[in-house]
């Protein structure tokens, strides 16, 4: 046995990240079932009962065991199910039988209700009325708990509140004219004042590594790829407030070697209004001046149809071009560009001959084969419950701070994500992650350095133990909470040859089948640089 070290040994340190997790939590999610356990809501007032009856759609009435008895027996306690039109009975019974612990029970019920509402909204048996009823009920349930104020209630209740609002927004947007009140408040970041957003954003940064992880990982990759270059030009797809670049400016100045720092130019891609962008430019320039980094700032406007035109970017000969695409909404930009817009930007890297492309995107953990709204809805629910869990685990006593982050930053994101899921499921437009797409388009992988990996680990070390970082492929660093992967930061090199064999039409994103994507993904795995 002359084996010193063997590759087969499970990797130590960083990469052995997965397994240990909160089993309860996971189980709870696995137990998900769209079936609604109406029995558990039997405390519900009679008026609710009537409401259901009045709104019941005919096909539900036909179902054998459910509604008939509901409308006949005053205590619909006894035959609780069948409200969710697509519910299958055995699973329901499981759900009911499994509900032993009261504490988790309510959360589970809320989740079931949410999923039922999503199904009613966009499932195979559409019934906006049913969805409306369920949403009304959900709001009652969470506001009883005081979650309506955004600060009280358990975290699952607050989570439910925001998802309920998101669904309500879809329902109202889809069926009737905009109804005012709470909804219009929820509709987007516009309605939170800037200082609130900033405050909440700062809190989120202090409470979690979500923002810094993507920024720092991308920046480190940029630093490494531009080592020794005299002029660096970064084109940033979504610069927002420019938060990403402060640390890069600082790092450029303190680059080892002691030589004069390179000149950095940042071109911000804008959509329309450029006033905020000028402000960002001023702030960045001021910051650069304060650390002594030569810096300039310019803008490049997207087309009316949100397409990126490489010709619109001034490129100086001899400068190293970097394209940066952070698709994870940072502060108040919930609008994240359309798929075709992102595609046009990434392909612009080929035309412009960028040296490196950095990408930060939300990680899709499951492959939602069905592409249905309900599945995607559950995915988002799962994702944000992980975020919720992470914030709560790290800051158990900070109910108020968390409440604010949730309300001001995360709630608009949830609304945006649910809205996207809804639209996408209608248009059958899908992307299995931009990383995979880039691999298909012939982008090469740029290995994540040890420094970078180590930096991410150290960063996460400042927070709760539940955060994980793992390498998924040589060029992709993934941030997760427990077993749930949340964010992926990857580094790419554009193909040298003018790229795609097929025209780089944005529709391409939708055309590539999941199979095609995964296959080529695996093939290219070994070709890595």
């Amino acid at each position: 046995m002359e084996v010193a070290m063997e590759e087969a040994v499970a990797p130590s340190g960083c990469s052995s990240t997965t397994t240990t997790m909160d089993d309860d939590f996971i189980c709870a999610w696995n137990d998900w079932n769209p079936a609604v356990d109406w029995g558990s809501f039997s405390s519900v007032a009679d008026d609710f009962h009537e409401l259901i009856e009045s709104m019941m759609c005919p096909d539900a009435v036909d179902s054998p065991d459910g509604l008939m008895s509901v409308s006949q027996t005053p205590s619909y306690n006894s035959s609780p199910s069948s409200m969710a039109t697509s519910a299958d009975t055995p699973a329901e019974e499981d759900a009911r039988a499994g509900g032993g612990h009261d504490g988790d029970d309510k959360g589970l019920r809320l989740v079931h209700l949410l999923v039922a509402a999503a199904e009613a909204l966009a499932g195979p048996h559409k019934s906006p009325e049913l969805a409306r009823v369920i949403l009304v009920r959900l709001k009652e349930l969470v506001s009883q708990a005081g979650a309506g104020a955004g600060v009280g209630g358990t975290s699952i209740e607050r989570l439910t509140l925001h998802f309920t609002d998101a669904l309500q927004g879809l329902l109202d947007g889809g069926t009737s004219a905009h109804c005012g009140g709470r909804n219009s408040f929820r509709d987007g970041h516009l309605h939170h004042h800037t200082s609130d957003v900033l405050t909440a954003f700062q809190l989120l940064q202090d409470m979690s590594p979500y923002i810094k992880f993507g920024h720092f990982t991308a920046n480190q990759a940029i630093l490494e790829e531009t080592r020794g270059d005299r002029r660096i030009h970064i084109i940033d797809y979504d610069i927002a407030e420019g938060v990403q670049w402060a640390s890069l400016l600082q790092a450029l100045v303190s680059r080892p070697g002691g030589s004069q720092p390179p000149h950095l130019r940042i071109t911000a891609v804008t959509r329309g209004g450029s006033r905020a962008m000028r402000e960002t430019g001023r702030l960045l320039a001021a910051f650069a001046a304060s650390v002594g980094q030569p810096f300039s700032f310019s803008q490049c406007r997207l087309d009316a149809d949100e397409q990126f035109r490489p010709a619109g970017v001034k490129v100086v000969k001899g400068e190293t071009l970097v394209m940066n695409c952070v698709l994870h909404p940072t502060m108040n930009n919930t609008r994240s560009g359309s798929a075709s817009s992102v595609a046009s930007f990434l392909l612009g890297a080929v035309e412009l001959g960028a040296k490196v492309v950095t990408l930060v995107e939300e990680e899709e953990q499951e492959q939602y084969e069905e592409k249905g709204f309900v599945r995607r809805f559950m995915g988002e629910l799962h994702r944000y419950s992980a975020v919720w869990d992470s914030l709560e685990a790290g800051f158990p006593m900070q109910g108020k701070a968390r409440g604010m982050v949730e309300r001001v930053i995360l709630a608009p994101r949830i609304a945006g994500a649910v809205g996207r899921a809804y639209r996408d499921s209608k248009e059958e437009e899908t992307d299995g992650g931009w990383g995979k797409w880039m691999a298909v388009m012939g982008f090469g992988r740029v290995t994540i350095s040890c420094f970078n990996h180590c930096q991410a680990k150290l960063l996460l070390g400042l927070f709760n133990d539940g955060y994980r970082v793992e390498e998924d492929g040589s060029n992709n660093l993934v941030l997760g909470w427990k077993s749930r992967r949340l964010l992926a930061a990857s580094v790419w090199k554009p193909p040298l040859s003018p790229p795609p064999p097929c025209p780089p039409s944005p529709i391409r994103v939708g055309i590539v089948t999941p199979d095609g994507l995964t296959n080529s993904f695996e093939d290219s795995d070994f070709v890595s640089d």
């Binding site: 002359e2 084996v3 010193a4 590759e7 087969a8 990797p11 130590s12 340190g13 960083c14 990469s15 990240t17 104020a149 600060v151 009280g152 408040f185 929820r186 309605h191 939170h192 004042h193 800037t194 200082s195 609130d196 900033l198 405050t199 954003f201 809190l203 940064q205 202090d206 409470m207 810094k212 720092f216 407030e241 420019g242 402060a246 640390s247 400016l249 600082q250 790092a251 303190s254 702030l283 001021a286 910051f287 006593m397 109910g399 108020k400 701070a401 409440g403 604010m404 309300r407 290995t447 040890c450 420094f451 180590c454 930096q455 150290l458 960063l459 400042l462 390498e471 040589s474 890595s528």
Partner: protein, 365 residues
């Protein structure tokens, strides 16, 4: 990339084959695994050293330098990764002091090299190897510190920039509120507290920041608490919240938040150590002392204090300070020990990058 292999089976549990000229031992899996024999590992280490350390070396350059036929980037990548990270399990990060971790690291490496040694007859070789591994451990620790130093500077830059955004926003806000108070109703709808703060805040520069401060303070408390339960010393936010919205913090209409990174950081810096020794169980204080002595890379408490002192401090001005004090004095139902843990509690993640977590991070190999 994989050159042809001769399928010679040997006695290992997994079908293996030895690749002729280079002597590589590979499994015959579809994804061939490589046995890292001592010789091969030595060549690897040499190559890495030649390339200026594991930080500088990349799989590609190592492949070039080693020049072993049949060795792929895939093999080198994962081996390099392991090489860089060392072998200590993850949990040490939190469980042990830096010193312990370092010792353990050494022990680990010693034992792993002992395994290697058992496979060889040459005892000198063994010693050599153990020594080399130990050097590696040291170097790795050093590199870790390097990364840490950079990370810290980046976090600080990040924080500084956030601060400038906030300042600017507040200037704009002040200007706006002079022009019209129209936004107030809108903004406060969802965020009553903040709305209230703003209501009265146009004269003051940073009402909402003031709010933040308290969060910061509590945050630290919280972190503190996680490490060493303060058993109900302070009311938790949640309990306050659920009772009613009238939490003591808001008795005067503004949240007594302290902007985490600038409230009394100097104090924090200079007192962190003694606070720790007062309040933490012995093991903890030992940990911190160890870390501060072990780390001479300029991230000690003093330099932190300096850094924070140097930056524009919003609420350190007299009004901010006064406000905080006022807020604190209003917290009648707060036990007096509140003030003591505060500076320590200031260690929000931003701050934590500095003094405290060093102890934790250090043990990362």
């Amino acid at each position: 990339m994989f050159s042809s292999k001769k399928p010679t089976m040997n006695s290992h549990e997994r079908p293996m084959c030895v690749q002729g000229d280079s002597g590589l031992v590979l499994t015959t899996d579809p994804k061939p695994r490589l046995r890292w024999t001592v010789e091969l590992h030595d060549r690897f280490v040499d190559a890495v050293t030649q390339l200026g350390g594991p930080d500088k070396a990349t799989p590609k350059t190592i492949m070039r330098v080693m020049g072993v036929k049949g060795l792929t980037l895939y093999h080198l990548k994962s081996h390099l990764q392991k090489f860089r990270l060392g072998k200590q399990p993850h949990k040490e990060l939190n469980d042990h002091s830096a010193k312990n971790a370092a010792l353990e690291l050494q022990r680990n490496s010693a034992s792993s090299s002992a395994i290697m040694g058992r496979n060889m007859n040459d005892r000198n070789m063994h010693m050599n190897d153990a020594f080399r591994m130990q050097m590696e451990v040291h170097r790795r620790l050093h590199e870790q510190l390097e990364v840490q130093k950079h990370l810290q500077m980046r976090i600080e830059a990040h924080g500084k920039y956030m601060q400038s955004i906030l300042e600017r926003a507040c200037q704009t806000l002040a200007a706006e509120s002079l022009v019209s108070g129209g936004y107030k109703g809108q903004a406060s709808r969802g965020v009553p507290d903040m709305g209230a703060v703003k209501e009265m805040g146009s004269a003051v520069s940073f009402p909402s920041l003031q709010d933040l401060h308290l969060y910061g303070g509590d945050q630290l408390e919280m972190q503190h608490q996680m490490e060493r339960p303060l058993d109900g010393l302070f009311p938790t936010d949640d309990s306050i919240m659920s009772k009613k919205r009238s939490n003591p913090y808001h008795s005067n209409g503004k949240g007594p938040l302290i902007w985490v990174d600038n409230l009394r950081l100097q104090e924090l810096g200079s007192t962190a150590a003694c606070i720790v020794s007062q309040e933490e169980p012995p093991s903890k204080s030992e940990q911190l002392q160890i870390s501060s002595s072990a780390i001479d890379t300029g991230i000690d408490a003093d330099s932190i204090a300096n850094v924070y002192e140097a930056k524009p401090i919003l609420s350190m001005d007299s009004s901010g300070e006064k406000k905080y004090d006022g807020g604190a004095s209003k917290l009648v139902d707060r036990p007096s020990p509140r003030r003591d843990p505060l500076p320590m509690a200031m260690m929000n993640p931003m701050m934590t990058a500095g003094a405290m977590p060093q102890a934790r991070n250090l043990s990362y190999g």
